[in-house]
């Protein structure tokens, strides 16, 4: 849909292979409700954007909605006129918000006496935006601007604008991600999604989530951080379910001791990187077509890994430490990428007898309490982890007790890990396919009570999972490596 026009702004630029827009569900709803209420007249609003820059994908994240004041916009069913005052006020807001903050113009093609409104940029839209966007982007090289047209039946078309070496350029947006407790992806006319060439192989699961669900799974890109006890089972399950694109990270070498609780580690894989074994496993069971899995023998929370994770639609957090959960939790809210955190834990009593087993699965996404709200993460927990074999040394010291060093190796068993992954996969179906009305908070299964518990912790009003939603690249996320 690249149209080459000459003039102030050019159509046909190339920012990255994929371009997305993303919005917190509440913001998207607010924009839609506010604009479509003015039908049959067209309507418009400016929204601030923040960039989320991956390796192959750039996402412009919608933020503050700057509604027009009376007299700012004159509208009819066929056209809009925006006042210079409104544009000027919006520019001031973007400037005040920072150099990476861009501007998005959203307008509607509502249903009218002419019929349904179609989400297509009209020649008049092209003409107007070519003249408007240079004003909005020149001198703001770190920002990504955007324009969106909303049709009357939920269809969307969009494009991004930026200042490149060749002047002001634009590229069509491939999809819009609406992110709340669940993930909705609206394809634009430029979508590069494809259908499975032989849908019959998916028949039984398609009967649950429908053709749209099958198409979504076929085209989702899932990141799996950690390919051990829970990550390996997640990879096996996601590939089997028909996920079409997967990225995996793990720095470890497969050992013979991993085999009893890690999927895909055959005898031949011992001594080789775990990710190689898991890639082979995924390719052997994948039902999506085409299917692609890329993997890196590294921590997923390095600077490079965190950048690649911004290419993902959903992330599975399968790490076995608390520290890497910090950047992954931040990424989920700031970059609007729902993340499923899972882990298992086995506790010993004073006689070194197992007295409790637990596995949990927790969705990190706007509208659901984050790991800090849930207190999966706290400064105290991170300190304890960093204390390593000196854990609680300061407490023991004051009472004069001797230091007891631990070997630091925790038990891990396949059924417990598999149960945690299963909980996470149920949450995945909810987040990606909305199979019920409500996404649960943190789910924990406890032994010895044989009890499945949903956390009753609410979002803390002062938590960063509220203040950082949609902050994108403007939020500093620190990489974590466990070397």
């Amino acid at each position: 849909m690249n149209r080459q026009l000459e003039g102030i702004a050019q159509f046909g630029g190339h920012l990255t292979d994929e371009v997305h827009l993303a919005a917190d569900r509440r913001i998207w709803q607010q924009i839609n409700d506010g604009l479509l209420a003015q039908a049959p007249n067209e309507a418009c609003v400016f929204v601030l954007t923040r960039p989320s820059s991956g390796v192959i994908r750039t996402t412009a994240i919608l933020g503050e909605v700057l509604w027009p004041e009376p007299g700012d916009v004159k509208s009819t069913p066929r056209r809009l006129e925006i006042s210079a005052d409104y544009i000027s006020r919006v520019l001031d807001s973007a400037t005040d918000a920072g150099p990476s903050v861009g501007i998005c113009l959203v307008h509607t093609h509502p249903k009218s006496e002419l019929g349904e409104g179609v989400a297509e940029f009209s020649p008049r839209d092209d003409w107007y935006e070519r003249r408007l966007f240079p004003t909005l982007v020149v001198g703001r090289q770190n920002s990504i601007a955007a324009s969106i047209v909303l049709g009357s039946s939920g269809d969307v078309n969009a494009r991004v604008w930026w200042e490149g070496n060749g002047g002001v350029l634009t590229q069509d947006v491939h999809a819009v991600r609406i992110v709340g407790p669940e993930l909705t992806i609206i394809e634009t006319p430029s979508s590069c999604w494809t259908d499975h060439p032989d849908p019959l192989v998916m028949d039984r699961s398609t009967r649950l989530w429908g053709k749209e669900g099958r198409r979504r799974l076929q085209n989702l890109r899932a990141g799996i951080v950690g390919c051990g006890g829970t990550g390996s089972i997640s990879i096996f399950a996601l590939a089997t379910m028909g996920i079409g694109k997967m990225l995996g990270w793990d720095k470890d070498i497969a050992a013979a001791q991993n085999r009893h609780r890690t999927a895909g580690i055959t005898r031949d894989c011992v001594g080789k990187p775990k990710v190689i074994a898991l890639k082979a496993l995924a390719e052997s069971v994948a039902t999506a077509e085409p299917f692609e899995m890329k993997c890196w023998q590294d921590w997923g929370t390095t600077t490079e890994g965190l950048k690649r994770l911004k290419d993902c639609d959903i992330i599975f957090c399968c790490v076995d430490k608390f520290a890497p959960r910090v950047p992954l939790n931040d990424l989920a809210y700031a970059h609007l990428i729902p993340t499923l955190d899972m882990s298992s834990w086995i506790h010993f009593d004073g006689n070194k007898q197992v007295d409790a087993l637990m596995t949990h699965a927790h969705v990190w996404s706007p509208g659901i309490p984050c790991a800090w709200c849930r207190e999966t993460l706290s400064s105290r927990i991170l300190i304890q982890e960093a204390q390593g074999n000196q854990r609680n040394i300061e407490n023991r010291a004051t009472y004069g007790m001797p230091m007891n060093e631990t070997d630091g190796v925790e038990p891990s068993v396949l059924p417990l890990n598999m149960l945690g992954v299963s909980l996470a996969l149920m949450q995945f179906m909810q987040v990606a396919l909305k199979i019920t009305d409500r996404t649960p908070r943190d789910l924990k299964f406890f032994l010895t009570n044989w009890e499945l518990d949903e956390s009753d912790r609410a979002i803390r009003p002062d938590c960063e999972c509220i203040s950082s939603i949609g902050a994108g690249d403007t939020l500093i996320i620190r990489p974590v490596t466990m070397d």
Partner: protein, 151 residues
């Protein structure tokens, strides 16, 4: 593992704001992911037999996402009270305990230190976006200045 630029910057800022020259260990303490942050010239309370010495604390590698430990240490470990505290009648520092291996790999060498353990961050939890090492240092000093029989 080396200290992060965030931690090194924070230690530099602490030196500027506290007026004491702090340094961070080049490597974490053996068996941990904690770096030692210390100064050699901390004035001690007049009740102590040593007027000044080493003062420090340990900071996780992922600072400021994780704050400093809820404790601090001093050296030399031979410090006593000039006169017995009125509650216990002893010149020992009952609030502190001598521990080996706490500062291994720091510029101090693998020497014993006296650890003071407190709930420094129990009332106001560490806020990774807000709190600085100076806040931790201020907490430590405030508790350090309390009477010896406080606990």
């Amino acid at each position: 593992m080396e200290p992060s630029s965030d931690l090194k910057d924070a230690v530099r800022e602490l030196s500027e704001q506290s007026g004491h020259l702090f340094s961070v260990s080049p490597r974490p303490v053996t068996g941990t992911s904690l770096f030692v942050v210390h100064t050699d010239d901390q004035p001690f309370r007049p009740e102590y037999t040593v007027p000044s010495g080493v003062f420090g604390f340990r900071v996780p590698f992922n600072f400021p996402d994780a704050g400093p430990e809820d404790s601090f240490f001093i050296r030399p470990v031979e410090i006593k009270l000039r006169s017995p505290d009125p509650v216990r009648g002893s010149i020992e520092l009952h609030r502190a305990a001598k521990v080996d291996g706490f500062v291994a790999e720091s510029a101090l060498g693998n020497v014993p230190v006296l650890i003071f353990s407190w709930h420094l961050w129990n009332k106001t939890p560490w806020n990774r976006r807000k709190h600085k090492l100076l806040d931790h240092y201020t907490h430590c000093i405030r508790r350090f200045e309390l009477p010896e029989h406080d606990s």
